[in-house]
Symmetry: D2
Subunit: 510 residues, 4 copies
């Protein structure tokens, strides 16, 4: 999708960090690491962010609206003391942009404070909400993450004997809802990292490295290849551990990818190390693994790793696949800066048509801009881009986009390119048409707004002023995803394509 | 230069807009156009911005600290009424970041209000400042732009007969100082666009187009080729005119490049059209034209046009030239996102070594970030980038940068790439070493801070951990600039290379 | 107490408004009335404020830190639509000054949204908190008002049959805790106003008047005299009703005092009128009524009415009583501006010693001021006052204060007066010494900080540099309170003097 | 005048402080003292404030919009180093509320930096402005204070020989304009305090006291009595000196009143002491002294001293005089809080009618409040006050106001009192009717807006709903002012009554 301002919105990011016993706060400043972690997950949500730390059972928190780098100032980081903590960054929706919705949610329980950060969306949120309300608990927000939080304390009531058995309570909660969530949960004693049994949202574990020692990433490769034992507790001298929605920012705070949290897995992190407590199987064994394919297509940062492969590689592979499926005679391949560049380079690599830049992006165009006059309104989204006309005047362009959702940004760009001298503009979309709503954490426009429900590729080409337009096939996308998956591990793969195919991983009988 | 936070800083941007007689404010909203113009010049300065409009001699103004898109809200734009106006965006320096320094400067004169926006720096500012002070005028700021403003009213005193002869006064001012300035000056009656006799800073004129008519840029080409008459007043139905430091944003407010303001030229813009009042020759005929070569190398936006050619083209040419001068055996060419991409693509084009992305940029890393702990401090600037290791593991990289000034950002990046598996990293710099201070508008670090004064290319390669490092030669750079210059016009070309060669366009005997 | 910055802090204010059926929102804008109501209760808490309105079951809210007049801007008032609403203003304590604590608390229940505003403090908060936590409800704040909110939904669980019987649920809650609270509770259907069975905190009902008709207050008198029937529903054409902690601001939004909510009473307000649902008797019949005597002494605004009398009158009476108990030879009576003026005028009236101003208050001295140099530190609180020396030079002053808590503001003032020429300064305090903590909503310093626990009146006089110092006796205070009480109604009177006498209205065995 | 929001606005305040040689910055922190000084002058202007300090010729400044206590934070005070400085607080007018107008004005001159703070208004500002503009100096603001600043550097041009003779330049400036200004001027070497030859605006000198020594104000009396020698330089060990528009805040930073600056006097303050450089006589000897009588009536703080007497005393005397001129049968005397309290107490003292409070002021009502609904609009300004009805029900009130300007605040208050039970309300105004504009620094409404130009006292009484209304006579006011003037000094007295009498101190032929 060419431009952020229209289309899908992301599904939050969660993060956690714990410092190993015997490591000083100068070596590993938990709040700094979490704050850097949230900055690295910022693309997953820019509305608000929060950090909660745990200092011997006493929680400290700071939350705010906006970007993590603005919210967490020096004085906040200093006040967020403790040897462990969790963080959350939230995506922006139209209506309920209020501080009260900021995560992590923090509540007092009979067993001390608890904090919860959630990425995902409960498909049966409505029923669970009713369940909590019927138990007599008032809910302060409309958020399903608050529902999870109250389920964790209320089912069974944590006042009962063995109430402090948090893994048990997490297990009970997982019986009530199966998709989708990646959670970080902090109690007074430790942190739990939990991924739903379908593995719908990503979640991975990293190990904090001593930064004086050298090459990490060469070793990283091997590490990923060879890990895979369920309860493997790190034996060497550790600095600590992180949990993150994506691995992309690991090097920015000196961490190495350790492994992904497995679908249904409950990981416990203490100052002594990590432990895989339990793996909860999906209730429907027919559909064991349903990792969101759009994380590959659009959401995740290209340098993140899922299922043993880099997101960048999948995108490039999508471009190559697109070249096979939908060749076109042209002088150059390009893209609208900058999310589809890997796919464009893949298309170029496969076809031999040179990759060339056709547009400059003005990074200073604000999101909410002044109401333009009648005349200026016609310029629309093209205001954000400058044509590098020397590169394409009189030439035929293959313009790669990663996805088309609403379809209202590409038209003005094609017009801009043609006015600047492009002879032909052929659109190639590195993913299939988006036709169905997502109930698992992605904010997709209504069916009516999804352009693929209103016209087919040829009609859309005409509407946009393109000389042709072809989407990648669903099979092509799934092939591209498979190419690089590391199956040396005992990994189950399987992807949710609901928004493209209408096939949902669980029944939606709510 | 890889990263904004170290090195050269820009030299402000100026903008002006006037609406033609008979055109409604709904068609051309002067304040909206200026605000869009400043957004398109934002890369030239992000500290503060201001707009002054003229409503039948009554001036309205709004200024603020920060980015244009934040400063100019709907209500400000609405209050900035009038049929003409000027704007300014200012660069950020360490100390004097105060509202009082925001331009345009507005003063009352005996002939009504006057506003001045200035891009550049007076080499003899100190002497002129003394001159103004000796006349008994107190100066409120340390800015040489205020000196220009007071010179314009005071020399000769505008209380004298013929005091309202503004072109005459501008001419007098140009006799007192010759370099460097591009000015927009608004009086109660009209706007003047002025470029210093050496043409050191850019300034160009655009024509506001009716946006209902179709392809512009194809026609644009011809227009640029064939214009060149001194006092050519537009005959067709005009909407109005703009003046801008760069042409990059013209399409964003529906303007076409008309031509550049010539060195020494005084252009008058009224509601009736534009008029070239006079061309002031340089006092030293030996050095007639000295356009800053660094505008090509680094400052300007790649889609801007200078001397009939696109900046992007020059940068690409620099890459090609570099490929000739400094070949290297490698598997891939890349760059640090994103200013050196054109040069890298040029290098790739000339050598046939494929262009590949090696780093992702995290756009959410704030400028002023929290003080990291000891451990995190070692990560430095690399915090901003994520390695796309799959693209370069085990391979040799030619990494193109546009310039090296302080040299403190490249080291951590090379380290990051090597840790992520790069076999070799060869740095190729698409400009010669920066060795001398600039007194004409560029904020260059002290001689001691310029890394090229402390070590040669080989020493620097060693320091940075690169396997080799080669700069583009000065001749190579000048050749690259010449390739695309449009000399069909009666254009004089010539470039200031003071910061590279130490040869200044004027004598510095102050 | 002379100065706000030291001593007791207030106990919040609650407010509610409902518009009668058939009245337009232009006539009675509920949000505007609440906002004016909160401004009139601002002296009860300046930390934060919130308004929640109810538009056919859909709640709208706006909360913020600071003063009501800053928090509620035009746009907020406009968005707070509905025919009923409640508001809250919160006092400032040192630590937990966070938005999350702002009231009213709003929760979703199985029977729709509910909002709660609370003035007071539960003496058994800790036990009730544990009860809620044991039921498995996580609590987001440390506030006992959240405990009340969750008790209201959870005990019995509102999912049970008859769960929407809110008066029943309120009754249950009142069985669990008896002191202290004045509550406004809004459900999707109506508003409840509740006062604890001991009547510890004030709460009164007002009727919105049509502002075209004339004299209100003459009629007001009669109204108060003659009301007193339990379920009296207003028969005449009503505009609507308000509920407020104090009656002081009634005229500012065109309301008349109707009557006080009785101890233990649950009042229901609907668009049809008001109804007294039930009166819950105190569990301990020995101590039936315990209205906080410090509301008279210091907290309430002088133009508020409690128990049929004006607060101003009680304060004046305290001054008269003090004159009887502690006469002194002096030329003038005065006070530190401005809370003790009524008492000072009362003292003057009784003794015939003229009342004179001795100090001017500088209203612009901020709360948090810059750290003064060593020399300036000595000036302390006197910085806030200017001596009107011409009024007292060479004379003996009786300086009346309403209370002395920490005792650290009077010293510098006496010094200031003496330096400015006062011959003698005799302190007379219009209330007994404060010696015991309050657990019912007043933030009293620790026992050690209460000066009356460290020295007697004579020692204190010496410490402060006063020529004498006498407190009002407890009997004197209780007499002064009784003088004006309207006992024509079936009113039970009785006052809590715990902070003065150590006799608490309920047993503190928690 | 009862309420700030309508009527006259003030005329700024100026302040200066210099530390004596040998005194440490810990003893006398110049910036702290100035900041406290501005807080004490805050009633003279609340729009903006600024401080400029001088550290060995290098000026530091901080300015901001709003109140001094908000503008000057700890970090600003710390950065405002130096042994001398000046400050300014500016009043709020409708239009030009911009930071650029904040004083002190700071300019560079050929002899170093200069800063100017101005209280007053030049009657010939327009002509002088033209003079400056004709000299060729552009002016950045519409402020006459900037005109003074540029006159000081330009006439004669300070580039001429002897240009650094600042007293000479100040003298020249005083020849060009005679009324009205009280100035503090700081050069790189020292501070000048200047009062116009007619003494229209106040200005006084204070001496910083060592705060360990005791009674100040008893000695202060004598000091004022006996000083009067032209060039008296303090001989004892000094801490430093302050200059201030009013003496009211002196005790808040530990200063004692030394004496007033005389009309036309130029005082020089250095680290060695103070020196009276020169006294410039008025050009028109017929009208030698014209101190603004409204400083006594309304502007100044009651604890300030002018001409040897306290403002409070004059106001009380006005009340007494009013009692003689306009007696009335009534049960009580009162006022609208709180500026007319001294006059009301004076009226009470003379007549024996007891002084009683009738209104409580709600200090939390903001200036700009939400747009009320139709119904609430009728309540108007009365929203700010609560009636203490028990004090006046059925009684006749004499309500004293200090002045009536627009007359639109008193009506609603009378209505409020009558509705609350007042039998009669008789207005007595402690100053004559305001009928003429002021051109000397007071922002008076237009002639049409001045109620006294539209109706006489009886008509106004009827309009306002008062039972009677009488103004103090002009003779009565002038008598009241004379009673306490200290004429033991060689003091010339004389007062400007232009706004009351239409007799201006200088001819207005511009």
């Amino acid at each position: 999708m060419a431009c952020d301002e229209t289309g899908l919105t992301h599904a939050c990011g969660v993060f956690a960090c714990i410092r190993a016993d015997g490591v000083s706060s100068e070596e590993v400043d938990v709040a700094s690491v979490i704050s850097l972690g949230l900055v690295s997950l910022q693309h997953r949500g820019q509305e608000s962010a929060g950090i909660v730390t745990n200092e011997s059972g006493r929680f400290h928190q700071h939350k705010g609206m906006g970007l993590a780098s603005q919210i967490f100032q020096e004085q906040h980081i200093k006040s967020l003391t403790g040897n462990m903590g969790i963080g959350h960054t939230r995506y922006s929706t139209a209506g309920s942009s209020e501080l009260v919705n900021c995560q992590p949610f923090v509540v007092d329980t009979i067993h001390g404070q608890m904090a919860v950060g959630h990425n995902g969306e409960l498909v049966n949120a409505k029923a669970l909400r009713k369940k909590v309300l019927l138990q007599g608990t008032g809910l302060s927000t409309g958020s399903d993450s608050e529902v999870i939080t109250q389920l964790l304390t209320a089912t069974p009531p944590c006042g009962e004997p063995d109430g402090a058995n948090w893994p048990g309570r997490i297990y009970e909660m997982m019986q009530l809802t199966q998709i989708s969530y990646s959670l970080v949960i902090m109690t007074k004693r430790c942190i739990y990292a939990v991924r739903d049994p379908h593995g719908n949202r990503p979640l991975c574990i990293g190990k904090l490295r001593n930064l004086t020692d050298s090459p990490q990433f060469s070793r990283l490769g091997r590490k990923i290849m060879h890990n895979g034992h369920d309860s493997d507790i790190s034996k060497d001298h550790d600095l600590g551990w992180v949990v993150s929605s994506e691995s992309c920012g690991f090097h920015s705070f000196g961490a190495s990818m350790y492994r992904e949290v497995k679908p249904g897995e409950i990981i416990e992190l203490t100052a002594k190390g990590i432990n895989s407590v339990r793996i909860v199987p999906p209730q429907n064994p027919e559909k064991p693994m349903s990792f969101c394919v759009f994380e590959y297509v659009y959401f995740a940062r290209p340098d993140s790793m899922f299922e043993g492969q880099m997101v960048y590689g999948v995108r490039q592979q999508c471009g190559k696949q697109l070249a096979i499926e939908a060749p076109v005679e042209a002088e150059l391949v390009s893209t609208v800066p900058e999310s589809a560049t890997p796919a464009a380079l893949g298309y170029s690599l496969r076809t031999g048509i040179p990759y060339v830049e056709v547009l400059t992006k003005n990074r200073y165009v604000g999101r909410t801009f002044i109401q333009p006059s009648n005349r200026l309104r016609k310029l629309g989204v093209a205001r954000k881009f400058g044509p590098i006309s020397m590169n394409f005047k009189g030439k035929r362009i293959v313009l790669i986009d990663d996805s088309i959702v609403r379809g209202n940004t590409m038209g003005p760009i094609i017009k801009l390119l043609k006015q600047a001298g492009a002879r032909e503009v052929h659109i190639r979309v590195a993913s299939p048409p988006v036709k169905y709503p997502c109930y698992m954490g992605i904010n997709i426009p209504t069916k009516e707004e999804l352009i693929a429900n209103r016209m087919n590729a040829d009609q859309l080409a005409k509407e946009l002023g393109a000389d042709s337009l072809v989407y990648l096939s669903l099979e092509g996308l799934l092939n591209a995803v498979q190419v690089g998956i590391d199956d040396s591990a005992d990994r189950k793969t399987g992807h949710c394509t609901a928004c493209l195919s209408g096939k949902y991983p669980v029944q939606l009988d709510w």
